[in-house]
Symmetry: C5
């Protein structure tokens, strides 16, 4: 259960809350949804009360996918929103915890 994927629709921001069980989230990719509008869609991120920042801009028929490489492990709310007409799919994964003396996948023992 490492994969993570959501669709962020225009006007419907998505709130990500840190989950201690799942850990640090790595967002890998943004992809424009299928649609007819040719205007760009931009993904914005708000963390707590900091200034919002733009994560990527997707251009229909030119660049409809964008690699991201972002990581989130915030105590505050992280809100993703879309500025533009088409929704954006964000995909990534939860990062496995690497350590000594214990594996990140405890199910692998005793099998």
């Amino acid at each position: 259960m490492s994969f993570w994927g959501i669709e962020v629709k225009p006007g419907k921001p998505f709130t990500h809350n840190f989950d201690n069980q799942r850990g640090r989230l790595h967002i890998s990719q943004a992809t424009l949804s299928i649609g007819s509008s040719t205007q760009k869609s931009v993904v914005q991120c708000n963390v707590g009360d900091k200034s919002p920042v733009l994560l990527c801009a997707l251009l229909p028929d030119k660049n409809e996918s964008c690699p991201l490489d972002l990581e989130f492990e915030e105590e505050e709310e992280v809100i993703f929103s879309v500025i533009g007409p088409r929704s954006v799919h964000l995909t990534g994964y939860y990062i496995p915890i690497v350590g000594c003396g214990h594996d990140d996948d405890s199910d692998s023992y005793g099998e």
Copy 2:
């Protein structure tokens, strides 16, 4: 035996099942197959009964390859499908397990 590569054809979804021997799968890249259609092909991913998400959009003669950086270690089925006329090649690798006191490649001892 780390490399992983498949071709996903339109109308023929590919199902990936977690293999405990091979471990966590990292998908690195999507590339459009050779063909004449100029319509885009989009790769969709379904994990268990979650909402499907789009992983990338490939545009003939503009962006025919797309980096992905996704990781899968799901107990549920992961289904990749293509929306569009041309099939898509997905490539990546199984991630070696890094730990202490034992190497990920036990064959390297005693050689």
Copy 3:
């Protein structure tokens, strides 16, 4: 608290100082702000008294986002500036310290 994001405006360079508590900074992405100018914006970086270098060039309506993969852990000041009409959003994260016998997130114990 791993996410990092700033907006660098033309004529207003941003200075990053190393913070021992937060550690090594990974910058992942540059994205052009929303605006009407069609001229490109280039991100420049000055570290101490070394020659300035260009990190990326963003082209309106062509490539408005650019992956970066840069890391900073400098004792000297690091100054990011924009050459061009539109401001640029830089996003990334602080890299967790990986070690033995102690976790990078000490808050995760005792919860």
Copy 4:
């Protein structure tokens, strides 16, 4: 001695064999050679007797470089070939072995 780079010419596939001394190969990038043809060049990979897969498509005057992020540690032969008129340069590096109590570069001691 970590860098790895080859040129794959049309009609002259390149065979990569696993080398126990050098370890796991990471291929980072494909770049089109200098030439006049405007037709695309596609890189294909054959591992043992598995179905060939496409790694990337390079488009003259549009996208002449493509990031790859692939890793190979195969007992079987890995054959890279080019479909198209211009040769392709593949670059990457051998991945250092990370472990406990011994460094990946034993030459660094005693110098």
Copy 5:
């Protein structure tokens, strides 16, 4: 002191020599300098007496930045040169050494 950045000018190759103190170099990005020529600039790399390979091709007004993800830890000289009219900025960082029982940044103790 992890950041690394240089400008490679046409006709003035840059030689990188391995520095035992700084370690393995990761090159992340190539960006075209500001200029008026619309011809492409290609970055070439020569390692010792091996055949030169191309690392990336930068196209003015189309793709002026290119991610690289290359690593160098060579005993031989590594020479970067530019084929084309405009110089290219290469940026990256020195990779911290990860181990057990000792941190990569010993300065962080006792501060």
